[in-house]
Symmetry: C2
Subunit: 192 residues, 2 copies
């Protein structure tokens, strides 16, 4: 099955740590398979989303890529750059969805100004509205449209924590950590 990868460009350690963390968490929760971070090297958002994956399940990957341009150029699949200057999402989404059934999809989102080469290297420059707003919001709506809402029902395998929907409170199930078999055997021996 084709993969959905998010490339986050131009991360600035001090200014963008929260926004990039939101990108990572939204990418995971809304059905992407991986996020690739570039700009200033920063483990904080990557570790946050890895921690969430460990607890909340699934197999989401998060990594840093110092050479984003080589990565973008070398990517085999459909490249979609989300930009307020692009063509309307509502006009392009069916085409993009069809492309995504056969090949991997790379969604490129920027922080500050995005270099011209990104517009040229991308197969689609797509606008989630032609107003300035937020790459987190744009990514969220893009994924929601791409998966036609099914991402909200996605099950995350191997979760230690799960939520059961509740009209007026929190229903959370936590699994105990399972110890390794050898450890368990050892432990049994200790207690007998």
């Amino acid at each position: 099955m084709p993969k959905i990868i998010v490339l986050r460009l131009g991360h600035r350690k001090k200014r963008d740590v929260r926004a990039t963390t939101h990108c990572c968490l939204a990418a995971r929760a809304l059905g992407a398979n991986e996020i690739v971070l570039s700009g200033e090297r920063d483990e904080t958002p990557l570790e946050t989303v890895r921690g969430v994956t460990k607890k909340w399940g699934g197999s989401f990957k998060a990594r840093f890529q110092p050479n984003w341009l080589r990565f973008l150029r070398g990517f085999k699949g459909t490249k979609i750059h989300l930009t307020m200057y692009g063509l309307p999402l509502q006009e392009k989404i069916s085409e993009v969805r069809r492309a995504g059934r056969k090949k991997n999809v790379l969604i490129v989102i920027g922080a500050e100004k995005v270099p011209r080469v990104v517009y040229n290297e991308s197969d689609y420059n797509v606008a989630v509205g032609s107003q300035p707003h937020s790459e987190v919001a744009a990514l969220a709506i893009f994924l929601h449209e791409f998966f036609e809402g099914r991402e909200l029902d996605k099950k995350f395998g191997g979760a230690r924590i799960t939520v059961t929907p509740n009209a007026r409170g929190k229903t959370v199930s936590k699994k105990k950590k399972t110890r390794k078999p050898e450890k368990r055997a050892e432990n049994r021996r200790k207690t007998t």
Copy 2:
């Protein structure tokens, strides 16, 4: 016509300035009428979105509200708290949409932990997925579903800057600032 207002709870000046700015800009771009900020008093995100409204048009309002609980309790309309612990958006959205045709809608989004009273005071606790992610992403998908995608075609009256969609670059139109009539007359006098 009923109004859509976003209440952003628990803003922390240092930690949340970028995320709250994203909330403000996404709220404006995706069709809300106003954002009300609470938590630590901070003009930065409010000024950013006011500046964007001035340039990019529309009549979006942004203000600080020190007593969020009184505001929440006194709100006349439908109150929707976005929380990963709530009932699935996909199950609740038609009902919420119907309610929003007759009465104003308040969308409540938190930063860190949201006090229990918010769950009780809200008419709906709605989950945009039951996974931890981002209030910016949740707000974006909520508005997108609420407006059924029409928010992406919204026109912003009185804009000084507008974008014309472009497949591979940026097409931006800028209107010159119109001087006040007296000023213009004065100016004419000066030059004659």
